[in-house]
């Protein structure tokens, strides 16, 4: 049914295209207005298309090499969880066109289940954002967006990649547009035998094969100058075998099927811009604890969201934004039985641009739900341009992470008496711009209380309790430099994160939080030729909560090198080749989960 609708839209957009409008509108219609308009006091790192191309296919590798977010990956392609500013995997929110897609069951996003090529804009925002983005936006947020352009376009793109360990990455993408329509369709599929040999050993990664497939359909329709309709649709499916750590361990596998649909109607009337949004999300997992058997356990949650978002421009420089939101989560599965959760929320955002140099913003959010006790959340910040090359930003916020379905409803243990994890944080950022050089340095301090942890009870089962208190502080540095001379272009990018995240009872660093993470990339293009080198350094991490130095995951430095060459002007062919883990470093990101040594990848992109 959905497929039919999709093709109908596609067909329709072609017809409109045939009318051949002559007016060229370059306006970008963003899917996440708050990300653009309401974060002047925080640091947002935008990853452009060429960066996205360099780290294929999953979000883990893109962000690992280009942002301050630390990842732990249970072996290449396996479950991957993020830690942002020393927080847990549930304290980083992933937003799909402004909608929070962290799992309702687990509270986190697995960053190896997102194919980056399916989005035309990916951004990373440091720091709290629960007022706008809800649960989990504590350490920071990752934004996956599809932006529309209403202009003449008809472009097909076919991407083919083949690499070591029989890794095949493919995508077909269509972007068709007129001044009224923009249709973006893509199909992608990634698979790998993933049986990489371990560096310096006769053994290899066993039972690590995976595939995933995504269909995306995004359609924007400009009804008239005052009204725009946008439909975003994504279907994702995968199957991963979980690699084993000892030869005879029982082999397991995991399957995900997620669908995401969002319809937005934007209306602009005088000083008011309103967005009416309806979203339907579905997540489902199936876990096979023995691949020899067909038996599996599963969990499934359907989420309905209705949202009304109105911006009132009191003057050109003073804007008030009100959002009301109603969410229903309807879940069932092993352990949780059947459970339903309803959350209503109200958000107010106020932004005042006092002068060209000074802007401040304040916002607050309150939820009403019977599933947990919900606190009042706020955010306040300001930015001031001291000179035309130096800007300061200050932000303070109260954010939260709500209990997951498992925390609330798992039998036994789950209960409705839990409080959300609550975090107060302040950050101070400085931005320097000199010609092609941009340097951002941010220091932050954060206190998290009521951390949810499952502990054994006196009755012999485990139950979640609001227990730990954590304090995190550190600094983030982002560097971006571009220099053009004639047909040459040189780019330099770097990020550095220093993170201290301590359990307040024990004063020990949290496990799997490195003190240091560093990334760096150099790129060079000359006419049709491009080359890049990127490196990632992750400091050592503790794996035991008593910080026993004997059980640390060692630090590692891994680097990649790639080249590409374009042929043709209109119909372009782009040939690329990459060497990953250039130095054949033996490393692991999670204890006993070795990552691949040096491996190769070739790509061909046809644009027609």
């Amino acid at each position: 049914m959905r497929l039919k609708l999709l093709f109908a839209f596609l067909f329709l957009s072609q017809l409109v295209l045939a009318q051949n409008d002559t007016i060229n509108l370059n306006e970008v219609i963003v899917s996440d207005v708050q990300l653009r308009d309401n974060n002047v006091s925080q640091t947002v790192l935008k990853l452009n298309d060429s960066i996205i191309q360099q780290n294929q296919p999953a979000l883990t590798s893109l962000l690992n090499y280009n942002s301050v977010i630390y990842f732990k990956e249970n072996g290449y392609g396996m479950v991957s969880s993020a830690s942002f500013r020393g927080t847990t995997a549930q304290q980083t929110a992933v937003l799909w066109n402004g909608i929070n897609i962290n799992s309702q069951l687990l509270g986190q996003t697995d960053f190896n289940t997102v194919t980056t090529r399916d989005f035309n804009s990916i951004s990373v925002k440091s720091g709290g954002g629960s007022v706008v983005y809800g649960s989990g936006a504590i350490g920071g947020t990752v934004h996956l967006n599809t932006d529309f352009r209403f202009r003449e376009a008809f472009q097909n793109e076919l991407y083919l990649g083949y690499g070591s360990f029989n890794t095949i990455n493919t995508q077909y993408r269509l972007n068709a547009g007129t001044k009224k329509w923009n249709t973006q369709i893509s199909f992608s599929r990634n698979s790998s035998d993933n049986d990489y040999p371990f560096v310096g050993s006769d053994e290899k990664n066993t039972n690590g094969e995976y595939y995933n497939a995504t269909v995306n359909a995004n359609i924007g329709y400009k009804i008239n100058d005052k009204n725009i309709l946008k439909l975003y649709s994504q279907f994702y499916e995968d199957e991963r075998h979980f690699s084993i750590t000892s030869e005879n361990a029982i082999r397991t596998k995991y399957r995900n099927a997620n669908s995401r649909n969002l319809l937005v109607w934007t209306n602009m009337a005088g000083q008011f811009t309103s967005n009416v949004k309806a979203a339907f999300l579905k997540e489902r997992y199936q876990y096979y604890d023995n691949i020899e058997s067909d038996a599996f356990s599963f969990g499934e949650v359907q989420t309905f969201i209705a949202k009304y978002d109105v911006v009132y421009a009191i003057t050109e420089n003073i804007k008030l934004n009100a959002i009301i939101d109603y969410t229903i989560n309807d879940g069932e599965g092993e352990g949780i039985g059947e459970a339903k959760r309803k959350i209503g929320s109200g958000v107010l955002l106020f932004k005042h641009k006092v002068s060209d140099a000074f802007t401040y913003e304040v916002s607050g959010r309150k939820e009403i739900t019977d599933a947990y006790q919900s606190p009042f959340l706020f955010s306040a910040g300001a930015t001031y341009a001291v000179t035309n090359w130096y800007k300061v930003k200050l932000n303070g916020s109260h954010n939260f992470r709500i209990p997951t379905f498992n925390d609330l409803y798992w039998k036994p243990g789950g209960n409705l008496n839990l409080r959300p994890e609550s975090a107060y944080q302040a950050d101070f950022g400085q931005e320097f711009t000199f010609g092609g050089l941009q340097l951002t340095a941010t220091a932050y301090y954060m206190k998290i209380k009521d951390m949810l942890r499952w502990l054994p009870t006196s009755e012999g089962y485990w139950a979640p309790v609001n227990t730990d208190r954590v304090q995190s502080y550190g600094a983030e540095v982002l560097l971006d430099y571009t220099h053009k001379f004639g047909a040459h272009e040189l780019g330099l990018k770097g990020t550095y994160a220093y993170t201290v995240s301590e359990d307040e009872n024990t004063n020990k660093q949290l496990i799997y939080v490195p003190y240091h993470k560093l990334t760096g990339a150099v790129s060079y293009t000359f006419k049709n030729f491009g080359a890049y080198y990127q490196a990632l350094y992750n400091g050592e991490v503790f794996t035991l909560s008593d910080n026993d130095p004997k059980y640390m995951v060692k630090d590692y430095l891994v680097s990649n090198f790639g080249i590409d060459y374009r042929i043709g002007k209109k119909n372009t062919y782009r040939l690329g080749a990459q060497v990953r883990n250039l130095t054949n470093e033996k490393y692991e990101s999670v204890a006993s989960r070795l990552m691949p040594g040096r491996n190769y990848n070739v790509t061909l992109t046809l644009i027609f």
């Binding site: 030869e247 054994p456 008593d546």
Partner: protein
């Protein structure tokens, strides 16, 4: 070579420990002369490790020199080997120790005194739990596929070839296994589910009978022709909570001789019989019951200093308690004297679940 290092350490410790006494020379010479290995005369602590991670290991605490203590002895002695994932238990047979690794589906066979690797048994095991020895053979309890109730078995191990030679099908969730004459008693705790049976396997490797005891038989031990069974009862979250029981089976008749019921809501899971008394743990309390006593004790001998009690043993007028703490830190072992006074605390490996005495 490692052994020499350790012996050196033992000697140094001995020197240090006795340097203010006249017995220095005696200590210096004696252990080396008669020693069967560095890990003789002490307790082996099984650190289970985290399920799915190969971080199981064995710690050693000397019973002669309390300061002589070493972690990760398997890997220290056998540096090219990794013990594996989820060490469930150890069984002794002669000079050999059989370390059963549940997650790795293997058994590491080592010399119990030197810890030098002898063999690795990798075939024929699926979710192995415990091992016992009788009739010149080894018997290993296996859950099979933990999600399947009907494929559980006791594997028969040829102790010469270290090959599994056959399986004896049993009811769900075989856990602890003990030998008695030429027979074996298997407690069916229930695996992922709950069970209430003891299987008797006779000398022909046939299940002769099953005895219904109480729900969830966690610990079994034979003493003086009687089998003592600590049944934990079904927990409240099962929806059909049952009381824990301490059951005695007469091994001549295989009939229940005594069954004492714990108060509702109590679910003890650790027990050890030592010097004519049964010791069990309820929460952090250690309780003592004389073998023949007609009622369960109500006051503890002492209360252990632990965050998360995970293992327990009583031996030679001492008590050993394993503390898993938060399950992601190195665990602790606390040792108490007969009166329950804390004598020593050792930081061991992750999740210390059991104690095996090398005397």
């Amino acid at each position: 070579m490692k052994i020499n290092k350790l012996l050196g350490l033992a000697l140094m410790t001995a020197v240090f420990f006795s340097s203010c006494t006249d017995e220095e020379i005696v200590y210096k010479e004696a252990p080396a002369a008669v020693s069967k290995g560095a890990y003789e005369k002490g307790v082996l602590v099984v650190n289970e490790g985290n399920f799915g991670s190969p971080n199981a290991e064995i710690s050693y605490i000397s019973s002669e020199f309390p300061t002589l203590f070493q972690n990760s002895i398997f890997n220290t002695v056998n540096p090219t080997k990794v013990l594996g994932n989820t060490a469930q238990s150890i069984g002794f047979n002669g000079d050999l120790a059989y370390i059963v690794l549940n997650g790795s589906n293997k058994i590491e066979v080592v010399n119990r005194y030197t810890f030098e690797s002898v063999a690795t048994i990798q075939t024929g095991l699926q979710n192995p739990r415990y091992i016992a020895f009788a009739n010149g053979k080894g018997y290993v309890t296996n859950w099979g596929d933990a999600g399947v109730a009907t494929d559980d078995y006791v594997a028969i191990l040829n102790l010469t070839t270290n090959q599994i030679t056959g399986n004896i099908a049993v009811v769900e969730g075989p856990e602890q296994i003990v030998a008695y004459n030429n027979s074996l008693y298997v407690a069916h705790k229930g695996g992922y589910s709950f069970n209430d049976k003891i299987s008797l396997i006779n000398s022909s490797d046939v299940v002769q009978t099953t005895i219904t005891v109480g729900d969830v038989p966690s610990v079994i031990e034979i003493n003086n022709n009687e089998l003592y069974v600590l049944c934990s009862g079904k927990p409240a979250w099962s929806g059909t909570e049952t009381s824990a029981k301490l059951v005695t089976v007469n091994l001549a008749t295989n009939a229940l001789a005594q069954s004492l019921t714990f108060a509702a809501g109590e679910h003890p899971a650790l027990m050890d019989i030592e010097a004519g008394s049964i010791y069990f743990m309820k929460g952090k309390g250690v309780y003592k019951k004389d073998l023949g006593a007609a009622a369960l004790p109500t006051t503890p001998v002492f209360t252990a200093t632990a965050t998360t009690v995970y293992g327990f043993a009583a031996q030679n007028s001492k008590f050993y308690v394993g503390d898993a703490i938060d399950y992601v830190a190195n665990g602790k072992v606390t040792v108490y004297d007969a009166a329950g006074t804390l004598q020593r605390t050792y930081t061991v490996g992750v999740m210390p679940n059991g104690f095996y005495f090398n005397n």
